[in-house]
Amino acid sequence: MIPVRCFSCGRVVSHVWEEYRERIKTEPPGKVLDDLGIDKYCCRRMLLSHVELVDTLRRYQ
């Protein structure tokens, strides 16, 4: 699951996660982040570097 807030500055970043994940399929991630108003690099890396693992974990429930 995407962390609710940025680890460094505390700004909420997770509310755009689903839109971000949809849009990067067709658009460059940098531009999508600009559009979504995630402008600081600490917040940007939260979304850029996130790997969603819940679906993988579910198999071992």
């Binding site: 609710v4 700004r11 509310h15 819940v54 974990l57």
Partner: protein
């Protein structure tokens, strides 16, 4: 003291404060981060959790959801409450969250007993549930300050810097090296000489000074002027946040004043 607004958005403000000490500027910064009381989910009871996340992870995620309140002043901090900190409707907002998979549970699914309280963002994913998985959670939010835990922090990124002052001497020959090296595009060439056109962006890194062979540049901080930027976590408009921070400082100053008056 002089105040000059540079930028104001719903969640971010930047202003210039001149004629104050660094301690005062820092006082405002710290009050925004750790002295303005807000609501945040404090304790939860999980009656059922068959999702992939551990109970503790869900508790953390719920705590970090910023909560807006229509009437924040109607709540008091548990230690100041008439109940003496035991918990009553005056210092607590109860909530329920129950959901069954498959599907995503969002922050908007949290049901508070007070209709004036709601999450600042609707689409914060709390937990994703698979087929047949479910969560049943009950708990309450309390009003506290950022000093207690970062989830009660009303201002997230708060900072200040000295206002930079850039002087360009007569020996400048317009070589343009300082403009090239400046990472923030502060300088520009005008009539064959360098000129500071975007001074608020200057970070006082002094790269331009190293680059200038003619030694024409001087970059110094103005010691009594501060560019302060405050960002709100979403619990309230940032304008309100700064005003409340100032009120907190005033309240403390008055308390101190009253204590000192008792002594003399």
């Amino acid at each position: 003291m002089k105040f000059e607004l540079i930028e104001l958005r719903e969640d971010r403000i930047r202003f210039l404060l001149s004629g104050v000490t660094a301690a005062f500027a820092n006082g405002i910064r710290r009050a925004c981060m750790s002295e303005v009381p807000i609501l945040a989910i404090d304790q939860i009871s999980l009656y059922d959790n068959t999702s992939v996340l551990f109970d503790e992870q869900i508790a953390l995620r719920l705590g970090l959801v910023p909560l807006q309140s229509k009437d924040l002043d109607s709540y008091s901090r548990p230690e100041d409450c008439q109940c003496g900190g035991e918990g009553c409707p005056g210092c607590r907002v109860d909530f329920m969250l129950s959901a069954e998979g498959p599907g995503m549970v969002y922050s908007k699914d949290i049901q508070f007993t007070d209709p004036g309280v709601k999450p600042a963002f609707d689409k914060i994913p709390i937990v994703i549930l698979g087929e047949g998985e479910k969560v049943v959670i009950e708990g309450f939010a309390t009003k506290r300050v950022g000093k207690d835990h970062s989830k009660w922090q009303a201002g997230t990124l708060c900072g200040y810097k000295n206002l930079p002052k850039i002087e360009i001497g007569a020996s400048c020959d317009g070589c343009g090296k300082c403009i090239e090296v400046c990472p923030r595009d502060v300088l520009a060439l005008e009539e064959g000489r360098a000129k500071a056109t975007n001074i608020l962006e200057c970070s006082l890194c002094k790269l331009c000074i190293e680059e200038c062979e003619a030694g024409a540049l001087k970059v110094t901080p103005v010691l009594d002027s501060f560019v302060i930027s405050i960002e709100s976590s979403g619990v309230m408009p940032v304008k309100e946040l700064v005003a409340k921070a100032a009120q907190e400082i005033r309240k403390r100053a008055e308390d101190l004043d009253a204590k000192l008056a008792e002594l003399t």
